[in-house]
Symmetry: C2
Subunit: 97 residues, 2 copies
């Protein structure tokens, strides 16, 4: 009846990051921090978890002398996100079918 919700995605911040990455396919750490209104520490931890899950790729490089972290959603990440959205439907209908 109720489908299990992927615990990796059932987190406000991680879900927001995935939602952004689904749209843009690639984003900087600072962009994600601004858009999600999160702290760097929290974002750093959550990005690591998404990476560990295989949902995003993280590329660390330098840009204009500063370190730069780029995130991209993976195929697996897209699939997981879509499944999460589908699962969520079972909770959101006005009737409990």
């Amino acid at each position: 009846m109720f489908k299990d919700l992927d615990p990796i995605l059932h987190s406000q911040l991680r879900l927001a990051v995935m939602s952004l990455l689904i749209g843009v396919k690639e984003a900087e750490f600072t962009f994600l921090r601004e858009q999600t209104n999160s702290t760097a520490g929290n974002l750093s931890v959550q990005i690591q978890k998404l990476k560990d899950a295989g949902y995003i790729d993280v590329i660390k490089q330098f840009k204009d002398n500063y370190p730069q972290t780029i995130c991209k959603i993976t195929k697996q990440g897209i699939k997981a996100f879509e499944e999460y959205v589908t699962s969520l439907q079972s909770y959101l209908g006005k009737n409990g079918k």
Copy 2:
């Protein structure tokens, strides 16, 4: 951009309970446990939290010699659930608008 998700509702089990109660308006503890496939202990804790938040009313009585716990969603609970669903939309669109 991303609306905050009510932490009381952003929990798989509590959301499932609310989803059921929105449909039926009243349900027994055991019914909720069966439908959500949860343990009694976990369900007991989560029902208490929904009650503390004012999202459900809990009526304890006896039926056929056994204790019986009945849950009903409140107006406040319905409102919170609807707001949660609305907020969630901002995370689910394919674009990050």
